[in-house]
Symmetry: none
Subunit: 224 residues, 2 copies
DNA sequence: TCTTCGATCACCAGAATACGCATGAACCGT
DNA sequence: ACGGTTCATGCGTATTCTGGTGATCGAAGA
């Protein structure tokens, strides 16, 4: 984990940086707004500690600029005590948190932990199989980057197959997972949907294992 | 957006709840730890405001219990001033932020905005989707710079959709976040509001995903 | 190894259905 | 009474289901 500390007070900066290093982080230091902004723009930090009052460029402006540039790393602001309007402004400018001076170093460490932990929670929910990508969160699928237009059952089918890639999935298993309650077992609906899905996908990824069911597999693996 | 306020001081609870409702949120209230924990466990909130000192179960325990249960909603803790060790404990227990009492309501609102927007993965207080801009701070929306005149429900709907851009949002999810407890599930209210919102927006950004729900997306992204 | 037979599967197209939407009327709180 | 919200109805259409047909496959016997 790499952290940037932007604070013009040399003593305070060193104090924070030392504590962070002690806690196992890699730390970079900056002592004015422009230097800090430049570093945050070019280097990939897991979190930034940013004083609100800085030479060259104030803290609020630094965050705002990062945010408009699309930089999304967590920012912890240091504000003067009782300047709550500054805090509100900082938060609305895009800062994720603040601590009022004077503060306990322990508290800053706890907040940095919280920020990093929270930022890590944003994992993309995408399953990839050859040219096919499935975004479960957006309920969207693409082939070679081209979005597919799937009906809800088609999507559910594809989703189940991709969640069990490489495995043979039986017809009854599919029925049980695609439909709520008991469903007429002897009907060829699954075959029909597999057929439609195969046609829409274009590529031949759904293999039929005769007598058992279907299996979805990346072409490289299928070649073996 | 739906928020839970857990605070045993009746006056303070009401004060916070009123301010939040004023700002356009749907608010549920709890007055002790057990009640609060139960509500947070069963209802889907976008954020929780949680006092640290509570009857029946203290705030720290409430968060800890939620976190071990896998509940991940953002939690804002209210702590007594100068009890910084409590703050650290709260954050390490899984709270996302805290405000020290006494506080300015403005500040709590700003922090709630920040938490919600962060949970949705946005870094700036303005969310943009094609020609539509949502200013979470001012609770205003514009299309091509022209301010929209939206009713409170319409705004809540737009807000929730824009906070979850690109994702498919189900009708039930919308109902749960736009209304407080029990609401007639089988009614077409959501459809009606989607229809009205579409008409007011003019541009066609709200896509209906048949059988699943609705998805808001910028046209450029849909084309890729 | 080749042939034959039974079982499984893909595909088609019409029928049945579920779904989303607009509309207008009823309902509420202010 | 008014704006905002909710509910009920009916329509058009996308989606799903059904049943049939021909193709394909696998196993067993010659």
């Amino acid at each position: 984990m790499r952290i940037l500390v932007i604070e013009d007070d040399v003593n305070l900066n060193r104090q924070l940086s030392d504590a962070l290093k002690e806690a196992g982080y890699v730390v970079d230091q900056a002592f004015d707004g422009e230097e800090g902004h430049y570093l945050g723009e070019t280097e990939p930090y897991d979190a930034v500690i940013l004083d609100i009052g800085l030479p060259m460029m104030d803290g609020i402006s630094v965050v705002e600029k990062w945010r408009t540039e699309g930089k999304g790393m967590p920012v912890l602001m240091l504000t003067a005590r009782d300047r709550w309007s500054d805090k509100v402004a900082g938060i609305d400018a895009g800062a994720d948190d603040y601590v009022a001076k004077p503060f306990h170093v322990e508290e800053v460490l706890a907040r940095v932990r919280a920020l990093i932990r929270r930022a890590a929670g944003h994992s993309s929910s995408e399953i990839v199989c050859g040219p096919v990508r499935l975004d479960t969160k957006a309920s969207k699928a693409t082939v070679d980057g081209v979005p597919l237009k799937l009906t809800s059952h088609e999507f559910r089918l594809l989703s189940y197959l991709m969640h069990h890639m490489g495995q043979v999935v039986s017809r009854t298993e599919l029925v049980e997972h695609m439909y709520d309650q008991d469903f007429d077992r002897d009907s060829n609906t699954i075959e029909v949907f597999v057929g439609r899905l195969r046609k829409k996908l274009g590529v031949d990824l759904i293999e039929t294992v005769r007598g058992l069911g279907y299996r979805m597999q990346a072409p490289s693996e299928a070649a073996k």
